[in-house]
């Protein structure tokens, strides 16, 4: 479908970022109740039980009912809490998650410019040249919401949950950043639109040139590291230690009720969506179709389809695996994932340098060193 | 069971099981009564000898009662008639249930159970704790203390275990008042009670109006 540049008085090229903002916000905020429903239904299927089936057809309205219930619940403020921090924390959880969605391109539209040239315009809120860094910066801010929620609740379970959670997020962020840097190396860009565009095309006309298939399997290893790290980063099972209900009641949001609790909940699901979106864009070709003959399906359907696949993996893993213990979680992050990611990054840089001898070696070395220095900088925490 | 061959009970000196014999050897005047019933042996001993006898039971290679099954309290007070039932001359007994657990791997144990009973008079409601011999006596002794008010000297942590800390009285004593719980019925009257009128129930256990009633009784 090709859209002309000017529909009436509206310049489509200029309008696209605003459409993208609406799409991202609507997608994330509307999909969260849907996700809850999907999760409950899928988990129920796996667990051989019925799942939600009371409110609406097949329980479809269940999450809306839950939302309404939460909205009208009493907003409890525990005694002796630091009010400012206590109210700030849920905001700090959801805002970075939503903001990080701004850098994820989720589709492409073809626009016939007035000059007659058909130009593919990516659907992304902010097509910034440091998109990946932007996302990393925002995900690194997510820890504040958790740690402050834990501290401000004036509850030991919350405090332990908050500390655990932040330590976990920090440790897995390293592996995640390194895995992302592998993708950056493969595509030679920090801009996610460039990264997705780079993944177009097919080997032998059938195997998509997605990053996950690139670099002789190194892309796949990096992808696996990223997927593990993203599960831990979003505090989902089997890494859901901060809110391990059997140990810490509900972790950092034990003392939160009503809409503040709902915001934490939405933040969790929103960050699930965002990291899945990054995975899709970075490793699985974003809006690029799986096979060339499936190109007639619109890009956004491909994107959402891939994204939902990750959500399904999330749910499946949650229903299957027991929870890791905290020290095992840390040692997995620091002793296994991080060294593995470093090795993969090194190999990726090596392969990249060997593959493109025409380019000055310096720039790759530069990237490698920068990556290393960022990693070391982060490992200080 | 194999050691205690049944003998003529009329005999003034019946053939005793090995446990009784061992106790008699070590502490000639400890045993008050030996009771055989349905194959179980119950040895009532003076309470001063409890730690020594229990330790003997555990440490003696021939006895080898390695497993501390439990201990429990019994109150023999006849609350209606006064006096003690079954002709006892002590009100409480603490029954130590010891088991010689057969462990084929370690080659230990005789698969034999023995009940050592400590006779505890009402006016000296205490007995030495055996927690240093069997750490497992910790909770049961606390429960006996809670339920019967028998104090265990030397117990590391003698607190109430099942009832709340501010509870008054020891509920499993036979003279503990029953009923009379202050339940508000629709017509404004209080619920059924024992004896005449409303007996204030120790369920209202915070030291206050009911404490004096219970402490008097």
């Amino acid at each position: 479908m090709i859209i002309p540049q000017h529909v009436g008085p509206i310049d489509m090229v200029a309008v696209i970022p605003y459409i993208a903002i609406i799409c991202v916000l609507a997608f994330v905020l509307l999909l969260v109740p849907g996700l809850v429903w999907i999760e409950r239904v899928v988990v129920a299927l796996i667990q051989d039980r019925l799942g939600p089936n009371r409110v609406g057809p097949r329980g479809l309205l269940q999450s809306i009912a839950d939302g309404v219930k939460l909205f009208f619940k009493e907003d409890i403020l525990p005694a002796n809490v630091d009010k400012m921090v206590y109210y700030l924390a849920p905001v700090l959880v959801i805002v970075p998650a939503l903001a990080a969605g701004a850098a994820i391109p989720f589709s492409i539209v073809k626009i016939r410019l007035d000059s007659g040239v058909v130009e593919p315009i990516p659907m992304v809120v902010g097509n910034v040249n440091i998109g990946i860094l932007f996302i990393l910066a925002l995900t690194s801010l997510q820890v504040y919401g958790i740690v402050l929620a834990g501290w401000a609740s004036n509850n030991k379970y919350s405090l332990i949950g908050g500390l655990r959670s932040s330590a976990q997020v920090i440790s897995y962020e390293l592996a995640m950043s390194l895995a992302i840097l592998c993708g950056v190396f493969i595509c030679h860009s920090l801009n996610l639109v460039d990264i997705v565009n780079h993944q177009g095309g097919y080997w032998f006309g059938i195997i998509p040139k997605w990053n996950v298939f690139q670099f002789y399997g190194l892309g796949a290893v990096a992808t696996i590291i990223y997927l593990i790290a993203m599960t831990a980063e979003t505090n989902r099972a089997p890494f859901d230690l901060p809110e391990a209900e059997s140990e810490l009641v509900a972790g950092f949001h034990t003392e939160y009720s009503s809409m503040k609790f709902a915001i934490f909940f939405m933040g969790e699901y929103a960050s699930m969506l965002v990291v899945s979106g990054i995975a899709t864009a970075l490793w699985f070709g974003g809006w690029q179709p799986l096979f060339p003959f499936l190109a007639f399906i619109p890009g956004w359907i491909w994107f959402i389809g891939k994204l939902m696949t990750f959500i399904m993996i999330y749910i499946w893993v949650r229903a299957t695996l027991p929870r890791l213990r905290y020290d095992a979680l840390m040692s997995l992050g620091w002793k296994k994932l991080l060294p593995m990611a470093l090795v993969v990054l090194f190999l990726v840089a090596l392969v990249d340098t060997l593959q493109t001898p025409s380019q000055p070696v310096g720039s790759h070395v530069a990237q490698g060193h920068l990556a290393a220095s960022m990693v070391i900088g982060e490992s200080q925490r | 069971m194999t050691e205690s061959t049944p003998n003529d009970t009329n005999d003034t000196e019946p053939k005793e099981c090995i446990e009784v014999r061992k106790i008699r050897e070590a502490h000639p005047d400890a045993i008050l009564e030996v009771n055989e019933f349905r194959g179980d042996t119950r040895i009532t001993i003076k309470k001063e000898y409890i730690p020594d006898v229990i330790r003997l039971m555990r440490d003696d290679q021939e006895l080898d009662f390695n497993f501390f099954s439990e201990c429990l309290g019994v109150d023999y007070l006849d609350a209606q008639e006064g006096g003690y039932i079954l002709g006892k001359d002590h009100r409480f007994e603490v029954v130590y249930n010891l088991y010689s657990l057969p462990d084929k791997r370690a080659g230990r144990g005789r698969n034999r159970r023995i009940f050592i009973k400590a006779a505890i008079p009402e006016d000296d409601c205490s007995v030495a704790s055996v927690t240093d011999i069997y750490p497992g006596a910790n909770y049961p002794e606390r429960e006996i203390y809670d339920m019967f008010g028998i104090t265990f000297t030397g117990h590391p942590d003698l607190r109430r275990i099942l009832m709340s800390d501010d509870w008054i009285g020891h509920p499993q004593r036979k003279d503990y008042p029953l009923g009379g719980e202050r339940v508000q019925f629709p017509d404004g009257k209080f619920g059924p009670s024992v004896g005449e009128g409303v007996v204030q129930h120790p369920g209202e256990s915070f030291f206050g109006k009911t404490a004096s009633v219970i402490e008097k009784s």
């Binding site: 400012m84 440091i130 860094l133 910066a137 500390l163 920090i170 530069a366 960022m374 925490r381 | -």
Partner: protein, 180 residues
């Protein structure tokens, strides 16, 4: 844009907003008794500085500012505050004395000094309103090429810094671990 409105251009308005917020957050940081709140105000200040860097087209530095300062260093601060349980304001009572007035006097002297230096040497600076622009200024590409350009003096300090960081890691572990 008219000449009279030049003083009110958007960059300048943005600068003033960011500047005021960062100064206010800095003041609140030192005025606050609760270390957690101090840390939060400092984070706010860092964010503002990241925005200031962006306004000076130093995108990479801005991103690194958030990742390293806000995402790493301040979280570490919060961690230590919470672990040592000195988050409550009563934990440390600031004692008065001559220190605070003396500090403020010193600060005023220092500011005056700075202003004096600015007045003496700032005349040349003020003339150059528009910075010279080089292509790709501030991007990752430019920074990487600058650092690793053998003709420029940055490569050796950069490597030395990485060793310093390594020493820092080892030192932190040595200090924190009760028994190695």
């Amino acid at each position: 844009m008219g000449r009279g409105l030049a003083i009110l251009n958007w960059s300048l308005i943005g600068f003033w907003i960011m500047a005021i917020i960062s100064v206010c957050s800095a003041v609140l940081m030192i005025a606050n008794r609760n270390p957690v709140r101090s840390a939060l105000f400092l984070v706010l200040g860092f964010m503002m500085q990241a925005l200031l860097y962006l306004s000076m087209s130093a995108q990479f530095i801005a991103a690194v500012q958030i990742i390293v300062y806000a995402g790493a260093i301040m979280v570490l601060f919060l961690f230590v505050i919470m672990l040592l349980n000195i988050g409550s304001p009563e934990a440390l009572r600031e004692r008065g004395g001559l220190q605070a007035p003396a500090a403020i006097v010193l600060a005023i002297v220092f500011l005056l000094l700075l202003a004096g230096v600015g007045a003496l040497g700032g005349s040349q600076i003020n003339h150059l309103m528009n910075p010279s622009v080089i292509p790709n200024y501030g991007t990752v590409d430019a920074i990487g090429k600058t650092i690793f350009d053998p003709s420029k003096p940055w490569l050796f300090p950069f490597e030395a810094t990485s060793i310093l960081l390594l020493i820092g890691v080892v030192g932190a572990i040595t200090l924190a671990k009760r028994r190695l």
